[in-house]
Amino acid sequence: MKRILAWKSLVSRKKTVILTCLSLIVSISVLMTVEHLRAQAKDSFNRTISGTDLIVGAPSGELNLLLYTVFRMGSPTNNIQFDSLDMLNKQKSVSWTIPLSLGDSHKGYRVLGTNQDYFEHFKYGDKRSLSFSEGEHFDDLFDVVIGAEVAKALNYSLGDKLVIAHGIGSTSFQNHDNAPFTVAGILQPTGTPVDKTVHVSLEAIEAIHLAPAQLTRLIEQGRMDLLKPKNITGVLVGLENKFATFSLQRMINNYPDDRLMAVLPGVAMTQMWSLMESVENLLMVISLLVLLASLFGLMTMLLASMNERSVEIAVLRTLGASPLTVLLLIVYEALLITALSVVAAYALVSLALVSLSDWLAQQYGLFLSSNLYSMNVLILVGFIFIAALVAAIVPAIEAYRKALQVQLSA
């Protein structure tokens, strides 16, 4: 009966209730969206690389090394010797290595020089391997494998020719026109920086930096062995035994024949994410303030209704409702409004995610799950209900006070 009473009471004041609900729906939607984006960004961030135990490069700081080797962001400050890769491969504890050579670009997309091990050992997400949607990895010196986003954005298909530019800007005045590449493979989308990468062989990186005549001569003489790189930017390392991680890291950091630095990806990722925490917290605080404003609206609406409801409260009291029952009725109404708003906001955000996910992926490279449900969202909903309960206390106490003062009048 209390449920019917609360519901019918709300329906009888539907205009103000709908406006209050709309205000709550907007604020709860903002809060849920911010939380979902934060969780998805973190998930996407952590999905970028998996199964790699160490990242090795020139000493330049853990974050910098992580940024340019994994996220293709920033510029490598220095290179390491190719011989260091051989040294790593000779270590008993090392299972595999992936050499990385960065520094060139194609129409704003980073070019990565690597070898076949990249396609075999690189993992992302839940240790998922790279796979091809079309073609295969590079066989020929001037073969190129492109990420899904590069193919889509530049409308490339197998067999298309492309020219790599020196440097990493979107516009370069120094194109390696003498060495056009042919698209040999297109990777499946991964939702990671791999999608935005143009992959070529390490030898190809060497080749495009030779003088045109010198390159032609080498190709004619078949002296491809002379294209062996002397320097690379970094190495991703997978270990046979995880227990060897720290001893190998120490050995690399103290390697006497080259200036090397080894970082643990997990540690560097955590360090990097902690830098973003302030932005994350700021967004959350703004969202909470919006929710607070809406809850004040709810409180005002319930308080404002007290005068028009004094007769109703008097009737309920006369029929035997205790002041506590009247108080609980107001709290129940507040929770009912909140529940309706939470359900509507959840549906709204889910609908928006379902309908906008393709567009967000295409326009901004944001791969968002349309499943809003998570433990954090559940905790958030719990918090919203507690906040609504607190907001309802003032009007509920006012109703309680009115209920105590009720008089029959003759």
Partner: protein
């Protein structure tokens, strides 16, 4: 039987017994005092008096909405001001029916829900639907009205729903507060007939409060409130 004397009648036969009751509103320095008043079960009494004579205060005390500052009020033998707030509320729901001046039905509820509400607060185990149907026939209301919102009803229908709500828990005592002030003479007589018939049927004691002297013909007992209780100083504020 109504009395203002000091003689003590058989307690079991009394619907109302007031002894040395005094009450004052928090915002007022005036004191409302009733020395002794007994009303026998099944009686119907017409309490009248001018504005400010204490009719409302009397009703609030009898309904257990206001609690006297001293003295004792017994309804059907239960010392109601000795009960806790929640027990007093429950007692009111179970044993006292109230009909208001404007009938005061909850406007957004249907006829059925308005009546069910009274049964709900009384935590009554009666067959509410059965009793409603029985009363609909007695009050000459069609069954079609029970699902209608009360805001769609005529004044005549609303007064009958108010009677139905007051009687759903078969109250021992019925408090009626100026119910005919907005009715014409015909409607007023019709209302009084229905009310008396329902009281007969339920064997309820009736305390009818009004300043309309024309209604006294329906009652064998008519008492001015001022002869039962009085204010100890100038009457002011809410009385």
């Amino acid at each position: 039987m109504t009395t203002v004397s000091q003689e003590t009648p058989n307690a079991e036969s009394l619907a109302v017994a007031m002894r040395n009751v005094s009450f004052s509103y928090p915002s007022s320095k005036s004191l409302f005092s009733c020395n002794q008043w007994d009303l026998a079960k099944g009686e119907r009494i017409f309490l009248h008096g001018a504005s400010g004579s204490g009719k409302s205060t009397m009703l609030n005390l009898l309904a257990g909405i206001s609690k006297p500052t001293a003295g004792e009020i017994k309804i059907n033998g239960t010392h109601i001001n000795g009960l806790s707030q929640s027990k007093r509320d429950r007692f009111r729901a179970q044993h006292i029916g109230v009909v208001f001046q404007q009938f005061n039905l909850v406007p957004y509820l249907s006829v059925l829900q308005n009546v069910q509400l009274a049964a709900y607060f009384a935590k009554s185990s009666i067959d509410v639907m059965g009793k409603i149907k029985e009363m609909l026939a007695l009050l000459k209301l069609s069954e079609a009205v029970i699902d209608k919102p009360v805001s769609d009803l005529s004044v005549g229908q609303r007064q009958r729903v108010a009677i139905m709500r007051a009687f759903i828990n078969t109250p021992d005592l019925l408090l009626v507060d100026e119910p005919t002030s907005s009715l014409d003479a015909n409607a007023r007589d019709g209302f009084m007939r229905m009310l008396m018939a329902m009281c007969d049927r339920n064997n309820a004691t009736l305390i009818f409060v009004s300043h309309d002297e024309a209604l006294r013909e329906h009652f064998s007992l008519h008492v001015p409130v001022s002869s039962l209780c009085s204010w100890s100083s100038n009457v002011e504020g809410k009385v």
